[in-house]
């Protein structure tokens, strides 16, 4: 990571830290949710933005993390930390297995295969409704929701836990994509055959990127269940596979902060427009169309191209 990258990332984290003390409780609560969703999108960005893998099935990994944590706490009575680690393991196993099969395809085939796996995951959650409570979902009891002694049911605990996860993932992925491994992923995205011609085992590298992406998405799912105390089948549905794609496209694919910017934009676009009209999805849709037309590389992607070429 270069000095400018590090300064930018640390600056953003400092602003987010200060935001809790400045913003009204409603917005700091929203920001905690946005940070967790941004972590999900950052995981997705590694696969799509950096490696060129357009997955439509990342809700499967988000849900694997979410249910990995929630079921182990609810049924197994596990404390939060081991449950979180189990959730990461679940996401790792699912992403590893899906990656082996889905990466045998490419392009539209890859999109369809990942979508089908996610739908199978969604149906599995419904099928085991006796444990998962299906669409209705289930709440995690307040008394078990603490991590390292931090009560994540309070606004402050939730916010700082979300910020900690966001910071770790931002800095780790920021370093990863600036490292030789990250440059290689970009090379694969730009021209897979050319990367192979240089001697890279493209299939293996794509699988590693896909698995890391799945694990980060799983971490976001587990954090969501822990911080907001709820797990439900909705999070395994197709719309939760589309959300990170939208965040990344809006914020800027292949930029470290683009997923966060996209998540903030989408969240508040819907939040604000729903306060004005009941047809808020129409407003959100129109805004998305305009943004796509005028900033085709997303907000930060366009900024990087036009003014700030150093932007990570």
């Amino acid at each position: 990571m270069t000095g400018k990258d590090a300064a930018l990332h640390l600056g953003v984290l400092a602003v987010l830290l200060a935001a809790f003390f400045v913003l009204p409780e409603y917005h700091s609560g929203s920001l905690a949710r946005i940070m967790v969703l941004a972590v999900y999108a950052m995981g997705y960005n590694l696969a799509f933005g950096y490696t060129g893998l357009l997955s439509l099935g990342h809700a499967l990994f988000f849900a694997a993390g979410m249910y990995g944590l929630a079921l182990s706490m609810q049924i197994g009575g596990w404390p939060a930390l081991p449950a979180f680690l189990l959730a990461l393991g679940a996401a790792l196993a699912v992403a590893g297995a899906v990656g082996v099969l889905a990466l045998r395809t490419r392009g539209v085939g890859f999109m369809i295969v990942t979508l089908m796996f996610a739908q199978a995951g969604y149906l599995t959650v419904l099928y085991f409704g006796a444990w998962t409570r299906g669409d209705e979902g289930f709440a995690l009891p307040q008394e078990v929701r603490n991590l390292f002694g931090l009560d994540v049911t309070t606004p402050a605990g939730r916010y700082f836990a979300a910020l900690a996860l966001f910071a770790v993932v931002l800095l780790a992925l920021g370093a990863l994509v600036r490292a030789p491994f990250g440059r290689t992923l970009i090379a694969i995205r730009e021209n897979e055959a050319r990367a192979a011609m240089l001697g890279y085992d493209v299939q293996r590298l794509k699988w590693i990127a896909f698995v890391v992406s799945g694990v980060v998405s799983g971490a976001a799912g587990a954090a969501y269940a822990l911080l907001f105390g709820y797990a439900g089948a909705t999070f395994a549905g197709v719309q939760y596979s589309i959300f990170p794609l939208l965040y990344v496209l809006l914020g800027g694919a292949g930029t470290t902060l683009g997923p966060f910017v996209g998540a903030v934009f989408m969240f508040y676009l819907i939040d604000l427009s729903s306060g004005i009209t009941t047809a808020y999805m129409l407003v959100a849709g129109l805004a998305l169309v305009l943004l796509t037309l005028f900033l085709p590389q997303g907000i930060l992607g366009t900024l990087r191209r036009r003014a700030l070429p150093w932007l990570p």
């Binding site: 030789p180 440059r183 090379a187 055959a193 192979a196 240089l198 001697g199």
Partner: protein, 231 residues
């Protein structure tokens, strides 16, 4: 020595090579010649493993490359510079070179060697590849292939669309690689380039290798070229 023996290949169900054979030796430039669609680029893609070979064999110093995946062939130090350069456009010049070096575990020494061949790239290290001129892009594509420290260098029309000064620069690099003992296989359309560089030439037609000549025979009777290429 690179030996291609009677290879057949297809793009899906469309067969494109029907028995191509050629031999290329270290310290020589072997030109693959033929009209458009004769199978020149396809032959290079088959050698590099980008296109599966259904029949025939490809060996490098007796080592069978025929069924190896593309990345394993590259690891055998077979460098390929495709037509149209195909750079990693979003990466800088330095990152393009770094990606080339990392693939085969090459380091600073190779980087310095490559930049000594293309000093102009040293001035452009922090520039994104997509912002380079056509000639500079060709230099970078060549530099990236050289990062493998190749034993074999396959070049597909490296001077296409370049201005004369740049063509000469690329030509000098190809001759330098020959002098350093590399096996150079060159697909080229320009007669002056063929006549000035070829040590041997293999003519392809409709996916098959036809006649082969040594360079001196071509230079003694350039009409061979016009006869086979129809120019």
């Amino acid at each position: 020595m690179l030996e291609v023996q009677g290879i057949h290949a297809a793009y899906g169900r469309v067969r494109t090579l029907f028995g191509v054979s050629m031999t290329a030796k270290p310290g020589e430039i072997t030109c693959l010649l033929g009209r458009n669609g004769a199978g020149k680029t396809t032959t290079l893609r088959a050698i590099t493993g980008l296109l599966p070979v259904s029949e025939g064999t490809i060996t490098l110093d007796g080592d069978d490359l025929t069924r190896l995946p593309a990345h394993r062939i590259a690891q055998k130090r077979v460098g390929y510079i495709p037509q149209g350069r195909r750079l990693f456009a979003e990466l800088t010049v330095a990152e393009n070179i770094e990606v080339g070096l990392m693939a085969c575990g090459e380091g600073r020494e190779t980087r310095d060697w490559v930049l000594s061949i293309f000093p102009r790239l040293r001035e452009r290290l922090s520039q994104r590849a997509e912002t380079l001129s056509g000639g500079e892009q060709q230099m970078l594509a060549t530099a990236r292939a050289l990062c493998l420290r190749p034993r074999v260098l396959l070049l597909d029309e490296p001077t296409e669309g370049l201005q004369p000064s740049m063509i000469e620069e690329i030509r000098q690099v190809v001759l330098r690689m020959k002098a350093e003992g590399l096996i150079v296989v060159l697909v080229e359309q320009r007669m002056d380039a063929i006549l000035s560089m070829a040590d041997r030439a293999v003519f392809l037609d409709h996916g098959q290798s036809r006649e082969a000549f040594i360079g001196n025979a071509l230079r003694a009777d350039p009409s061979i070229l016009t006869r086979h290429l129809g120019v």
